[in-house]
């Protein structure tokens, strides 16, 4: 297993190298990128000592943009490997500082919706499988399909319209109320929690569909397996068949996929955070990407690529851990 893990990790490094190269090429070729804008801004100052072209050359040298794509990428890679991610251009702080400032909001948001998703989707999926072709099954299937098909931005807008505009229960956007600074610590926590309700609801709605279908499919597979038939033939009560024999076996794929999606909790929800103006990492990266902030974008994309690869690896490893029949090779 250790050998397998090592091999996978090596693969991941290679993949990551190429993924980041593609991203770097894209960012590098941004027509009017951050550097150009900055140079124009500096050159148009009242007592600018250098022309636009001179500033551009200066800034390019400063930001390591004058070496060409490949050398530039290698330079970035060299400093990134030792943990030096540079300063964010758009946020004007070190990349890691901005990361620390934002990632925990994203994680909180992700965790809440992850827990809600499991609480809602797994029981629904099991009930649907138990009553296959029944009303509950159809109902759950349709609901899950609708949830899969809803665009995030539409759900967010709809929730805002209903709960903020029509009912006035929550603020439209933002993370803090207007009297946030006057509150005590617990009040501050409650205030932020209140502002996280709609975003986490949005995330939950758009994600429960997939998990529900997954649970249902796997539960059905287990329910049709021989040992369940045997248990039923033996006269084991249906409740015990479902909860004891079937569910525990359904847990195998569930635990592996959910385990694999754990790293993703740190990745942030780009659209949701942007729409609700939650200062999470998704929002920060969206701003960075649209402003061609190479250091932060590169960091963020590397970060979520690592999370994806890590998620896949965890899924595969968990499979071997949870299911003794599976051998990794």
């Amino acid at each position: 297993m250790a050998k397998y893990t090592l091999k996978r990790l090596l693969y991941c490094v290679v993949i990551l190298f190429f993924v980041m190269f593609i991203v770097y090429v894209l960012m590098y070729n941004m027509p009017t990128g951050f550097v150009e804008q900055k140079a124009r801004e500096l050159a148009s100052r009242p007592n600018a000592l250098k022309s636009y072209a001179e500033w551009l050359a200066d800034l390019n040298a400063q930001y390591g943009m004058d070496k060409g794509v490949i050398l530039g990428y290698l330079t970035w890679l060299k400093s990134a490997v030792v943990g030096n991610w540079g300063d964010s251009w758009a946020w004007t702080v070190p990349v890691l500082t901005e990361f620390h400032n934002t990632v925990w909001y994203s994680f909180a948001l992700g965790l809440v919706s992850f827990v809600l998703e499991i609480i809602i989707a797994v029981p629904l999926g099991i009930v649907a499988a138990k009553k296959q072709y029944g009303f509950t099954d159809y109902f759950a299937s349709i609901i899950s399909m609708i949830c899969i098909s809803l665009p995030t931005f539409f759900v967010a807008t709809l929730l805002k319209y209903i709960f903020s505009v029509q009912l006035g229960w929550f603020d439209l956007t933002g993370m803090q109320g207007r009297d946030y600074l006057n509150l005590d610590d617990f009040g501050k926590f409650l205030d932020i929690a209140k502002h996280f309700v709609l975003p986490s609801l949005t995330l939950t709605i758009v994600s429960i569909g997939g998990l529900m279908r997954f649970t249902r499919t796997n539960m059905l597979e287990v329910l049709n397996s021989d040992y369940v038939r045997t248990a039923r033939a033996k006269g084991v009560p249906e409740k015990r068949v479902i909860n004891y024999h079937a569910f525990r076996n359904t847990l195998i794929p569930l635990v592996t996929t959910l385990g694999g999606s754990l790293p993703g909790l740190f990745g942030g929800a780009l659209i949701t955070e942007t729409l609700f103006a939650i200062r999470g990492i998704g929002y920060a990266s969206y701003i960075s990407m649209t402003q061609a902030d190479i250091p932060f974008t590169m960091f963020y994309l590397a970060f979520i690529s690592i999370l994806t690869l890590l998620g896949n690896l965890i899924t595969d490893l968990l499979y071997a851990v949870v299911d003794p029949r599976v051998r990794l090779s």
Binding site: Y11, V14, I15, L16, F18, V19, I22, V23, L26, M27, N29, M30, P31, T32, G33, Y138, S141, I142, M145, I146, I148, S149, L150, P151, T152, F153, F154, T157, L158, K160, Y161, V165, L172, T173, T217, L220, E221, N224, L270, I271, T274, S285, Y286, M289, T290, Q291, A292, T297, Y300, L301, I304, S305, T308, L309
Partner: protein
């Protein structure tokens, strides 16, 4: 209604029975078992799935709506709609005119631009000092401004000779020629100055003292120096007009008069700094007449020429009797209680001169005389009351259905009473407001019969935009999926069939593309296209290509997996044994067997692509305005206030996106179940 014919039934049954009995049938005869072709079998299973059928019907309707709808729907996606709306508009502007406009009297006289440009300030200076006449020295002419009536001034050119300066002034004494060592004096000779100058003048400029007077010199042309000295008292700058002139000047200044007579000539003083200059003025020739009065004709909108204006203003001179001729018509102007009224030859009132101007807000003079009078009267009343606003009723030209003016059968304007409000601005102007019917862009019109879903913020018909947007959204879905499938089949097919290092290489590539985060990459590409200011159609192409490139990995993975499985089966061994070409083996025998899964994954993929596309367009990074897609329609009302007020725009569109994706997913699900009933456990 058909009758049941028992005899015919029995007859037909007996014939079939005889047929069956005549041809002996085996137990395993194929004719006994109703066999469906694989395709029909799939279709039958598909039809049985209610959700799939619902999805199919929805999709058919959506396609018809998007692709056929625009053919019958009367509006285009970029058609802007206008409407007539009653708005409280700034109808007119009234103000006390304080700026003076000049009208030519004699164009043959050349005027200095600086003098003409500073007329308003010159007139203001005259008003401050209560002067009736002012002299403006200039070279070689001078100018004179005369007040001929209240608010009417003439500008004349005249010969002007500077005679003397009074007060402490730097006076030009003469020119010193350093070769001849002589001085040519300007007015009075100073004895001994030439000798002193010869001694003292060195270099370019400097100064020396002679007889207690300080002389300064500067080098002019050809070794000559200009000598100046600061002198007090009356300093002559030209030939001495005669004995006793200096005394006469001082006397006149002490008397405080602005001009005096000496030897039969009139001399004029012009104040310049602390000094007074004395000029000998010639006969003035009037070049322009300036006024702050405006002509309000009794006939609405009648414009008078500039020649008329200058003629009427010149007629205001005290010396004239008020009669004047302009454009070959004779008029008379009379001063009646401080107002100037112009009468035509028949003695009818033709126009009025007034400093109080009332104009339409656009600046044009198209208002009725009685309305102007009424406004002026109301402003007067308002000022008396000390209020800043007043409301009154007056007749205004009535407007028809389309905002145009209405005429009766004789071609005269029809009038109707309207409420008019006058408000004084802080600048001292008066704004006249009233309700007018205006032709405006029909923004955010609520749903109506003409616009079933209303119009959006640009005056576009939302229904039309949804139709055209559906075209693009659906097209994007299909094109992207086709790109994905083609790339996926080629790459997956090659990898699965050849195996070995080719497989390894392609699968690592698949891994790379699998790992690429789609949404961030698309956002970066969108921002790139923003920066490049790309044309919106080109953006569409680039976006489709990028989405296709990003999505092929999963298809390739599926194709490869299937091919690895199928490769081991007997029919593939058979193709190898019969020596079929490799290309045919892959694309004619392997790929068709992967087709069912491909169709399923493609159908469900279209939904995903439509979601991504609409998300990007919603963020403003996909297809751009004015091209419609479902995402851009929602984007156009995504601001907080628009979202709250114009829910009738974005809710239907959002539901439509969801419905489309749901339908594709249902169909995909149904297809999978139909192709592979075993998966439907």
């Amino acid at each position: 209604m058909s009758t049941y014919d028992l005899n015919a039934r029995l007859k037909s049954r007996s014939t079939t029975q005889t047929k069956n009995t005549t041809s002996e049938m085996a137990l395993d005869d194929v004719a006994r078992v109703k066999v469906l072709s694989p395709g029909r079998k799939v279709f039958k299973r598909f039809i049985r799935n209610r959700l799939a059928v619902f999805g199919s019907i929805t999709l058919i309707i959506l396609f018809a709506f998007s692709f056929l709808g625009p053919l019958v729907y009367p509006y285009g996606q970029k058609q802007i709609f206008y409407t007539f709306e009653i708005q409280n508009v700034n109808y007119a502007l009234a103000k006390q005119n304080t700026t003076y406009n000049g009208y030519d009297v004699d164009t043959s006289i050349e005027l200095e631009r600086t003098v003409v440009n500073s007329m308003n300030s010159s007139i203001m200076k005259m008003q401050e000092n209560n002067l009736d006449s002012m002299l403006i020295p200039g070279e070689p002419y001078g100018y004179q401004i005369d007040k001929i009536a209240d608010g009417v001034y003439t500008l004349s050119a005249l010969d002007l000779q500077s005679i003397a300066t009074v007060g402490e002034a730097s006076v030009e004494i003469g020119t010193y020629d350093s070769i001849k060592k002589t001085i040519s004096f300007t007015s009075t000779e100073v004895a001994g100055l030439a000798e002193e100058a010869a001694k003292s003048i060195k270099g370019k400029d400097g100064s020396f003292t002679f007889n207690g007077v300080e002389y300064s010199y500067t080098r002019g042309a050809a070794k000559s120096y200009v000598l100046t000295a600061v002198m007090d008292g009356v300093n002559l700058t030209a030939q001495d007009p005669g004995k006793g002139f200096t005394e006469a000047v001082q006397k006149a200044i002490q008397a405080g008069s602005t001009s005096f007579e000496f030897n039969g000539k009139t001399y004029t003083f012009v104040q310049k700094g602390n000094n007074t200059n004395v000029y000998l003025a010639g006969e003035p020739n009037t070049a322009k007449v300036y006024t702050c009065l405006t002509v309000d004709t009794l006939v609405t909108g009648q414009q008078v020429s500039n020649a008329f204006k200058s003629a009427v203003l010149m007629a205001l001179k005290d010396s004239s009797n008020g009669a004047f001729e302009a454009d070959d018509v004779s008029y008379t102007v009379r001063n009646e209680d401080g107002a100037f009224v112009i009468y035509d030859a028949d003695g009818n009132m033709f126009a009025e001169l007034d400093t109080f101007t009332v104009r339409r807000y656009t600046g044009e003079d198209s208002m009725d005389f009685d309305l102007k009078e009424a406004i002026a009267a109301n402003i007067m009343q308002m000022n008396e009351e000390g209020s800043k606003t007043i409301t009154f009723e007056h007749r205004l030209p009535s407007q028809g259905e389309n905002g145009e003016y209405v005429y009766d059968e004789n071609g005269n304007l029809l009038y109707s009473n309207a409420e008019i409000q006058i408000t004084q601005r802080n600048t001292g102007e008066y704004v006249i407001n009233c309700d007018q019917k205006n032709y405006v862009i029909d923004r955010y019109a609520p749903p109506s019969f003409a616009h079933p879903l209303g119009t959006d913020g640009d005056g576009f018909d939302v229904m039309a935009r949804i139709m055209y947007g559906g075209r693009i959204s659906l097209m994007v879905g299909f094109v992207v999926i086709i790109i994905e499938v083609i790339l996926g089949i080629i790459m997956g097919g090659i990898a699965g069939y050849y195996g070995g290092w080719v497989d390894n290489l392609i699968m690592r590539l698949v891994d790379v593309f699998y790992c690429l985060p789609m949404l961030p990459i698309m956002i970066i590409i969108g921002a790139m296209m923003d920066a490049a200011r790309m044309d919106t159609y080109l953006r569409l192409m680039v976006m489709m290509a990028a989405l296709g490139l990003m999505g092929w990995a999963s298809v390739a993975r599926l194709v490869r997996g299937q091919i690895l499985m199928l490769r081991e089966q007997e029919f593939m061994v058979a193709t190898e044994a019969t020596g079929i070409r490799v290309r045919d083996r892959i694309f004619r025998h392997l790929i068709p067997n992967v087709m069912p899964q491909l169709i399923v994954i493609a159908t469900m993929g279209i939904g995903g692509v439509i979601l991504t596309e609409s998300t990007l367009s919603f963020l403003g990074l996909g297809v751009k305005h004015p091209l419609a897609t479902w995402g851009t329609i929602i984007n156009s009302v995504s601001s907080a206030s628009a979202m709250a007020h114009y829910a009738f725009i974005w809710i239907p569109v959002g539901l439509l996106i969801s419905l489309t994706v749901v339908a594709f997913n249902f169909v995909g699900d149904g297809l999978r179940d139909a192709y592979d009933p075993k998966s439907k456990k």
